[in-house]
């Protein structure tokens, strides 16, 4: 199978989620599908990657068949309750009382529920009885803790709210998230102890949910430049007299070794080899590189194993 209708790209801050989301969106659009990229961070860099103005809360054209929008949770909460209340002046009165926002921000699951409902609305066929506006929604950047909360919310709410219209919606959301043909989580990490630790934690936590995973990505991996024999020569030279040229090689060798160790850890935890992306030192990620990345990411969904 290809890229499913709903993909959450998640991982620790600064691991390259936005780049991965953009590359994936581009690939999906090249397949002739309409894509919506949803940015969860208020100050994200997604639009800049497409050479576009900052995103707003309504879909904005980014490229051929690619739209983007930014999630404003407060506005979503308001619009959700406005729909519920039907009478505009009641809604207006409600939002004007600071109490309402205090309660919804602190009350468990309200924000997450509303965000999920919003995401589902863009992609789900037959949601609210109409055709899905997009063939694929790629969610960029809820950091892993937030993503987990998001994915857990339907279950938590289902426990707290056994019946009623809310329970029905929760049930539908849960079915969407649990359907691996519809929803996948793409974890992005870098070869850094904390980032890998967080990725493994999310992996373990997802075991308790039925959410499907895509092949994980390990970003910023140094290529293997020096053979073992060369590494030994470099180490010997450094022992005699170190110099910046050799120190740089030392950094590369250590970084590559670390990356290999982390690749192995991810492979063991996911039961599938992660997709390594190379560190970019000179210049920026150009269109060709982005396209290649998209192709490789797409193949990561082919597998149904995880």
């Amino acid at each position: 199978m290809g890229v499913p209708p709903l993909v959450f790209v998640t991982g620790k801050g600064g691991v390259g989620k936005t780049t991965v989301a953009a590359a994936l969106a581009q690939r999906v659009s090249q397949r002739g599908r309409r894509v919506l990229v949803v940015e969860m961070a208020a100050d994200g860099s997604l639009a800049a990657l497409f050479g576009s103005e900052a995103l707003s809360t309504e879909p904005r054209h980014l490229a051929d068949r690619i739209d983007g929008l930014r999630v404003d949770t407060r506005a979503l909460v308001e619009s959700y309750f406005r729909r519920l209340l039907r009478l505009p002046f009641l809604a207006h009165r409600l939002f004007a009382s600071g109490t309402f926002h205090a309660v919804t921000a602190a009350a468990p699951g309200v924000t997450e529920f509303v965000v999920l409902e919003h995401l589902a609305h863009w992609t789900a066929r037959g949601w609210l009885g109409r055709k899905a506006p997009y063939d694929a929604v790629i969610v960029d950047g809820p950091a892993s803790g937030h993503a987990l909360r998001l994915l857990r919310t339907p279950r938590q709410l289902a426990r707290l709210v056994p019946r009623g219209p809310l329970a029905n919606t929760v049930g539908r959301l849960r079915a969407l998230l649990d359907d691996r043909r519809h929803t996948r989580v793409l974890l992005v990490a870098i070869p850094d102890e904390m980032a890998i630790g967080e990725t493994l934690e999310v992996r373990a936590a997802l075991d308790g949910l039925d959410v499907g995973l895509a092949r994980p990505v390990l970003n910023r991996v140094w290529p293997r430049r020096f053979s073992a024999a060369e590494a030994a020569t470099i180490a010997a030279l450094r022992r005699r007299r170190d110099e910046p040229l050799l120190a740089a090689a030392g950094l590369e060798i250590t970084a590559r070794r670390e990356a290999e160790r982390h690749l192995a850890r991810l492979r063991a935890a996911f039961g599938i080899a992660p997709l390594p992306l190379h560190e970019i030192c000179r210049g920026r990620l150009d269109a060709a590189a982005l396209a290649q990345l998209g192709r490789r990411l797409e193949r990561g969904f082919a597998d149904d194993g995880i």
Binding site: L166, E193, E243
Partner: protein
């Protein structure tokens, strides 16, 4: 690499140092290294770390998750360094036990299903707990300097106002409303407000099937008794954060996105009138241009590879230099130190000492003392 000795000197004379910054910049390591540096200068220090990696915990001797101060062995000549790791859930329990007027009030909250599900996920609770732990240590008065690491937070105001917001929520009508919705509706509010609330209530009831509402009202009812306790603490914490002996340090890396976030932090802290002392840049590549005879001892084939590799690192170094220049020209406070990328990550105590040395672990007078000794 660059470091601002005078500014660091002033920093180590403070009573409270708060490390802020976005996630993944090495904030926890920087906080730990600042603690080590201050202790090596002879001060008695506590470091509050949030969510440290396993290796960093090992380095600090924090087995498991210890929210009680543990002594870090730094050897002779040093002051004292205590480290602790924050455990959001347990701190919250303890806080409730402490501010609850009677044990049965605390018990009632602990027993609440919502509390159990959500005490670690309640809005802003991680932020709140970091500030709460700080308050606890300040009350203790045992340390000359407290260094606080903070949970990664996209919005610094969210972090620092967490205690106030929590209090606001608990003291707000929301609690009354949830506790007994009917009481408000029949109360002295305007008729329009009564109508609104009645409608909201009806929708909520239909929406939730009532169970959620009852649980929520139970939860809120339990918290009602705690409002005064929360309020006093929130005020004390806010005061401590604005004291003259308090310094905020923003931790960053030279990556463009992170630098932008750091500058946003800087502006927000400034707007909220919190005292910013400076910025620590972490994981900075620093490679000067090569000498013409560099690597001449290496075999020719290897030499070419070495030069290729070096060119990559030099490019990264140039990128980092540009980013730090931009940072320095726009930030309100100086760059305290630029820490290099280490070949082995500083996750051992020896590693932390190395970082501490770059942060000015030895004050000028201490250095001379050491020189005099054989």
């Amino acid at each position: 690499m660059a470091s601002d000795a005078a500014a660091l000197d002033a920093l180590f004379r403070q009573r409270l140092v708060v490390c802020v910054g976005t996630g993944g910049v090495g904030k926890t390591t920087a906080a730990a290294a600042l603690g080590v540096a201050a202790a090596l200068r002879g001060r008695s220090v506590a470091v509050i770390t949030v969510d440290p990696s396993r290796r960093l915990k090992d380095a600090l001797g924090l087995e498991g998750l210890s929210s009680e101060p543990r002594r870090v062995a730094l050897g002779d000549g040093a002051g004292a360094l205590d480290a602790l790791a924050l455990d959001t859930k347990r701190t919250f329990d303890r806080l409730i036990a402490r501010v609850a007027p009677r044990p049965d009030v605390a018990e009632r909250i602990f027993a609440n299903r919502l509390y159990q599900e959500l005490s670690s996920e309640l809005g802003g609770s991680a932020e709140y707990m970091a500030m709460e732990k700080l308050h606890e240590l300040l009350q203790l008065g045992r340390y000359e300097l407290i260094v606080v690491d903070t949970p990664p937070s996209a919005d610094v105001r969210e972090l620092l106002t967490a205690p106030l917001r929590m209090t606001e929520l608990l003291a707000s009508q929301a609690v009354d409303f949830l506790k007994a919705p009917a009481a408000i509706i029949t109360g002295r509010e305007s008729s329009l407000m009564r109508m609104t609330l009645a409608a909201v209530l009806k929708v909520l009831e239909r929406w939730t099937g009532l169970t959620l509402l009852r649980e929520l009202s139970d939860f809120a009812g339990g918290f009602e008794h705690l409002v005064d306790g929360f309020r006093t603490r929130a005020a004390a914490i806010d005061e401590a954060l604005r004291a003259p002996a308090t310094s905020f340090v923003i931790v960053t890396t030279p990556e463009p996105g992170i630098v932008a976030a750091t500058l946003a932090f800087d502006r927000e802290l400034g707007r909220a009138a919190f005292p910013i002392t400076g910025v620590i840049a972490n994981r900075v590549y620093d490679f000067p241009p090569l000498a013409p005879d560099a690597g001449k001892r290496a075999p020719a084939a290897l030499h070419r590879k070495l030069r290729d590799n070096y060119a990559d690192f030099a490019a990264l170094a140039a990128r980092d230099r540009a980013a730090l220049d931009a940072l320095q020209s726009q930030a309100s406070a100086p760059l305290l130190a630029a820490l290099p990328v280490f070949e082995d990550a500083p996750t051992s105590l020896a590693g932390l000492r190395r970082v501490a040395a770059l942060l000015g672990a030895s004050a000028p007078n201490r250095l001379t003392r050491r020189r005099r000794a054989p």
